[in-house]
């Protein structure tokens, strides 16, 4: 059991897909301007990575190695399209919020990375745990970045004005605080991720490469 729980816990910190393996940066930049989008993206990746890892793991003995990357891509794309279609038919509102993420999920390198590195060589149950673990690791970073970018950039969290109203000058704005619009631009996501990496490595020296 210890080995299995390691599959979930490892990617959360010491083998985090974003801060250690530096994968999935593109989507971390694109959609973390607000917390809600980060959460939605996290849930979507959790689903696709969990199920996708199981599917690839079940197919691992019959996939021809020459075209395995294409096969992996097809599996992700199919899963995402199925989810998108089903949502469009039964939860239309939700599907509209999610449609932006579809493209980003298909091209998310974490997903391809886990298929290639783990699911192709391990059984379905372990692959499932690995998928969930990595998706959670991805989610943590996304949510931290989304939290700071929305808070400092727009002064809101999940759309709620937590720092007061910037136009009517209430709350923090009354004493001269201003939102930092720069936080909303993609480069700041990279800088926030950089700060997280810095904090993480200064606490755990074994993560520092020579």
């Amino acid at each position: 059991m210890g080995k299995d729980s390691k599959l979930i816990l490892d990617p959360l910190a010491d083998n985090n897909p974003i801060t250690i393996q530096v994968l999935g940066i593109c989507s971390a930049l694109a959609i973390t301007a607000e917390l809600e989008a980060s959460i939605v993206m996290s849930i979507s990746v959790l689903f696709v990575l969990g199920v996708g890892n199981v599917v690839i793991s079940l197919m691992r003995n019959i996939i021809p190695s020459k075209i395995r990357i294409i096969v992996q891509l097809i599996v992700v794309a199919t899963l995402v399209i199925i989810v998108d279609l089903v949502l469009k038919a039964f939860a239309y509102e939700l599907s509209k919020t999610l449609s932006v993420f579809v493209g980003l999920i298909i091209t998310n390198c974490i997903i391809m990375g886990r298929f290639e590195a783990f699911a192709l060589g391990n059984g379905p149950w372990r692959s499932f745990l690995d998928g969930i673990g990595n998706a959670l690791g991805y989610a943590i970073i996304l949510i931290i970045v989304g939290f700071f970018r929305e808070l400092l950039g727009s002064g809101t969290l999940l759309g709620m004005k937590v720092l007061g109203d910037p136009i009517e000058k209430t709350g923090l704005y009354a004493i001269g605080y201003e939102d930092n619009g720069f936080m909303l631009l993609s480069p700041m996501a990279l800088i926030v991720v950089g700060i997280i990496i810095w904090v993480q490595r200064s606490r755990n020296k074994s993560l520092i490469e020579d």
Partner: protein, 250 residues
């Protein structure tokens, strides 16, 4: 010894098999769910049009449509006339709201006559003229509905988009952006069409000046904002003759 899965023949067979299975699965799903999806899209159009004329379930903050159950009933109640303007001729058409603006724009590009849908709504004795608009944002299509009074003063808008960046361009469908349009003029006092510009240099962030033909832009969403400007100017201009006629007829 070569593994069975490394053979070229196996690879080709596998690829063909996989494509067939996945293709069939997706095609089946897509066609099986099609009626449900297009029904959802139909209701959404009704909700959008009603939203633009101020019939919605907005509470503090977020933009909320009337429920899908109520939409057809309210649509029939408040939308008095659905018009199609073609070559200056105005005809009634009960299915005008289903006209695909994208297709009509493509027809106009080919030099054919473009059908312009216009919905005449009435609420509390006041008339609303609602026109659909469509354009390009940063990543993909953006579109919307603009409700105007007989002087082309904006009475409400609804914007939507296919794939603008969440938190930036996607915020064109947020209340704080859409609500700014209320009361904004499209025509100068002389009656010349000027449209509305999404402006980064607007010195009126609370949008008190309704005669400046400008709306405060969203930070970080310049291209999406420019797209909104362009679709307002391009598409609403086409409706000017209708409103001029309306004036003449008194």
């Amino acid at each position: 010894m070569e593994k069975r899965t490394d053979k070229n023949s196996y690879t080709v067979l596998f690829a063909v098999g996989m494509v067939l299975i996945v293709g069939a699965l997706l095609a089946y799903l897509a066609s099986a769910l099609k009626p449900l999806i297009s029904e959802n899209e139909r209701l959404e159009k009704q909700q959008n049009i009603l939203y633009a004329m101020g019939i919605n379930n907005n509470d503090e903050g977020s933009a909320t449509f009337v429920s899908t159950d109520e939409a057809p009933k309210l649509f029939a109640k408040y939308i008095k006339k659905q018009l199609v303007i073609e070559n200056g001729e105005v005809k009634e058409n009960a299915e005008a709201y289903l006209i695909d603006v994208k297709k009509e724009q493509a027809r106009a590009k080919e030099g054919k006559a473009r059908r312009l849908p216009l919905f005449v709504g009435e609420k509390d004795g006041k008339k609303y003229y609602i026109a659909p608009i469509r354009g390009k944002g940063l990543w993909d299509a953006i579109w919307g509905y603009v409700a105007m009074d007989e002087n082309m003063v904006v009475q409400g808008v609804y914007f939507d988009h296919k794939g603008e960046t969440p938190g930036l361009g996607a915020n064109i469908k947020q209340r704080y952006f859409m609500d700014d349009f209320y009361g904004e003029h499209l025509l100068t006092e002389a009656g010349v069409f000027k449209g509305i510009t999404i402006s980064k240099t607007n010195s009126d962030p609370t949008n008190e000046d309704k005669n400046d033909f400008e709306i405060d832009a969203i930070a970080g969403a310049t291209i999406t904002g420019d797209g909104v400007t362009a679709m307002i100017k391009k598409d609403l201009r086409l409706y000017v003759p209708y409103f001029q006629n309306l004036k003449k007829q008194g």
